[in-house]
Symmetry: C2
């Protein structure tokens, strides 16, 4: 056996442990009875310790060194796997075990403190924990190293190869334009009654519609399923086993449907990764920003388009006869209704990015040392007011709303807006193809999916995000396609009827 | 740390691997999409190899030797754990790895051959596989050793401490009595229309009733659940995580309900095992015969009693209004309707044991070398005709019907009838207590469950089956209580109305 083959065997073992843990995690969120939690935590801790020991152990390192010496054909999946494994090992080796242990100890407590602080809407109950988390994050950034600023070092953990400076430039460009579009969308939405879609939609019937929709965009139910959880997610339990979840609002069927379209977007990516490379970088999704581009593409560009609903509103009306009074135009206006809200996860398409821009700016300042933890509420509320024109009534509706910081997830939020930019750019470029465009017009997305399979999914992590986008669309991620999309859907030039 | 504490740590690791595999197994049967099978098989093979290596490895053996030297207080759980671990290790050490590998290779092929042979109803397609399985089983029996005959060595793998000779005596005693009772039950049942309970019972409503029933007998839904599978089972994923499954017949709600009562009987045993001893013998069920005694007790003695239905038929009628025309007497007659059938898993309470007696006799002769594999169909059909008065039309309805042999499960079937005997004996003895009896009369089974917790569940494997039964009921397993129960429920003295 070559060293590379031995390395693949080790990676296979790590992948078996990881996919087993994912299965336990999925069960924990979907079906596990409450009292089983303690034992489940023990199982997961055991699997993760085993997997961590293998992935960072001497055997893996030595075998990797030998495999690197063997070399690999330029541009091959083998070369990509070796490149990414070397990168991960190098990155992991820079963080001492003691710091990893310290971090997991701090986040375990911070998680509970955050839950309590949010409940009482009192940032001071969380601030000392966040202070420790920030200190760890800055230590890690120094150990990892960075080109321009500490945020870089964290960001690349989620978005391989990304640069804070470039993202900041993009976001600076976006901010005034998105603010204007969002304001216009919100203003016009005041004329649209919020109750147009309210009704009684039994869960079983929503499930039927959601399944048909997910199948129609290409989600393979022989290699996946949809279950119900409080917080929707997509998780991969094996190369042919992708599980989505959604939640149901019996008064509004579009809530679970858009949730399914979003998660199915993630799921299509996972189902399109090269199965023989499962558990190796070439078989893994490359970044959060690319992942989110797939979910947002199917949720927003496909799922909130008029072509889509020309086909699906009649079918929805068969399933929910109470919809028969509704015109397509009013339906489209309803699903594009925009409003300023304090909570990111409830935000609509027109206002979502403003939430992200705010968090990116605050995190960047925290890491650069130009904002103290204690001053976060003030900075948050000031900036929120600047962007949205309203001030959060309390910390629970402000800087305490997201779980990410309590888990040490600094540097993560930017990938949401990157996802939006990439989604728009990929969708616009794919639709330059006449066949794709004409099929999409009649809600046939087979050609679109085929294009995404070729240009995004099949690469796994062989191409880094910026290269993948440039190769697929001809240029790196920029804001043009996204702004054009937002402008067309929400911009000042559009009338209420156009929404 | 003492050697015993180290041993418990090793056992904990084995238990985490085992309970993880059980979780994957449960998911495979309930929710896993079809194409995920290959990867799931890889995960399970990996976990089982890891767990096997730990359980039979040098570290475990050495630590056990040290712990045995430390000793343990007589009658303590520690003493029981050491006794059982030593027994298991000694038993495992007698089988060379090559034979284990040979067996798993043979059974992998035999399983498929059996599926095909049953489909075509052609025993000759399976006989050479069964010949190999029998040869392995006989080799194992010789390696393990036995007191009287080879069947002993296999039987104790399922029923620790059992003796073939004693079971054969019991079964010889049962055979003429059960044959007479079954014949009487079948004769009288001809007057009962088979269609009395046929109706339309939506699955969701059956699930509601089943859940109420399972809760009422004490099944803890915060530490377990019920899902749907083709073949009902009960599996334990952790000390507080017991999963039952059942299947639904929309035309007959009693089918899923008795399935749930049966599996909940297994589940109550599992939920009653001492949680701190999870993964050690003192925290494990002691044998299949004791396990089956719990399922049959709740399914047949409780669930098919008139007291039970006095309470539950009115509730079932609320849920299924079409039952309102049905009198309790006719309902009881319907659920006690007996008929001779060729397939064991479809057999009713009155005729079930005849299927077991037949298999026990054939397996015993195979292992003693007094029956050749090629002659099984003839021997099966002759004995079936002798017991049931009818001859199986083909091998699919005869010797090919059960999966057990294809998996190497020789010596297993006897435990089903042992379960029936133990169920009757435990139930009769518990009901000598006036409080238990009077509560049961009004379908309150809290005192009965408390008695079973004390006398059966809480022992885990600390008491071997024969000792457990003798301690709980005052004497070893015999046929008296079971025959009295069958006689009372089905015997010649009863009229149609009494059924």
């Amino acid at each position: 056996m070559t060293a590379y083959e031995n390395l693949c065997k080790l990676a296979q073992e790590i992948a078996l442990l990881g996919s087993t843990a994912s299965t336990l995690g999925w069960d924990q969120e979907t079906y596990m009875p409450a009292k089983a939690l303690d034992h489940r935590a023990q199982q997961l801790a055991y699997l993760s310790a085993k997997s961590h020991a293998l992935a960072t152990g001497k055997t893996f390192r030595k075998t990797l060194d030998l495999a690197l010496k063997e070399g690999a054909a330029r541009g091959s999946k083998q070369a990509a796997n070796l490149r990414e494994w070397a990168y991960e090992i190098e990155r992991a080796s820079r963080i001492p075990t003691s710091l990893v242990a310290e971090e997991s100890n701090i986040t375990a407590h911070a998680r509970n403190a955050w839950v309590e602080a949010r409940k009482k809407s009192d940032f001071s109950m969380f601030s000392s924990h966040l202070g420790k988390i920030l200190s760890i994050a800055r230590q890690k950034a120094e150990l990892w190293g960075y080109q321009d600023e500490p945020y870089d070092a964290l960001l690349v953990g989620y978005e391989r190869g990304a640069r804070t400076r470039l993202i900041a430039n993009l976001f600076d460009e976006l901010q005034p334009r998105i603010t204007a579009i969002a304001k216009s969308a919100v203003d016009k939405s005041r004329a649209i009654p919020s109750t147009l879609l309210r009704g009684k939609y039994p869960v079983a019937k929503q499930q039927q519609l959601n399944r048909e929709v997910a199948e129609s965009i290409g989600f393979d139910f022989d290699a996946g399923r949809i279950d119900t959880t409080t917080h929707p997610f997509c998780t991969t339990l094996g190369p042919m086993d992708v599980r989505l979840t959604t939640r149901y609002d019996e008064a509004d069927f579009t809530s679970s449907l858009f949730g399914v379209l979003h998660e199915a977007g993630h799921g299509l990516y996972e189902q399109g990764l090269p199965a023989p490379e499962f558990g190796r970088p070439a078989g893994n999704a490359v970044s959060l920003g690319i992942h989110e581009s797939q979910s947002r593409l199917w949720e927003n560009h496909v799922g909130r388009s008029e072509a889509f609903w020309k086909k699906w509103l009649p079918r929805a009306t068969e399933i929910f006869p109470s919809l028969r009074k509704l015109h397509l135009g009013d339906f489209m206006a309803s699903i594009h209704r925009a409003q300023f809200s304090f909570i990111r996860v409830e935000a609509d398409e027109a206002t979502y990015d403003l939430h992200i821009l705010l968090r990116f700016q605050i995190e960047r300042r925290l890491l650069n040392g130009t904002l103290e933890v204690a001053k976060i509420p003030q900075a948050w509320n000031d900036q929120f007011e600047h962007l949205f024109g309203v001030r959060p009534p309390d910390d629970a509706h402000g800087c305490l709303q997201d779980i990410h910081w309590s888990m040490g997830g600094l540097g993560y939020f930017a990938t949401y807006t990157l996802g939006n930019l990439n989604a728009a750019q990929l969708y616009a470029h794919a639709n330059r193809d006449r066949k794709i465009r004409s099929a999409s017009t009649s809600a046939n997305y087979t050609p679109l999916l085929a294009w995404l399979r070729t240009h995004v999914h099949s690469h796994g992590s062989a191409l880094l995000p910026s290269k993948l986008i440039a190769k697929a669309t001809g240029h790196p991620t920029d804001s043009a396609a996204y702004l054009a999309h937002l402008q067309e859907r929400f911009g000042p030039g559009r009338t209420k009827r156009d929404l």
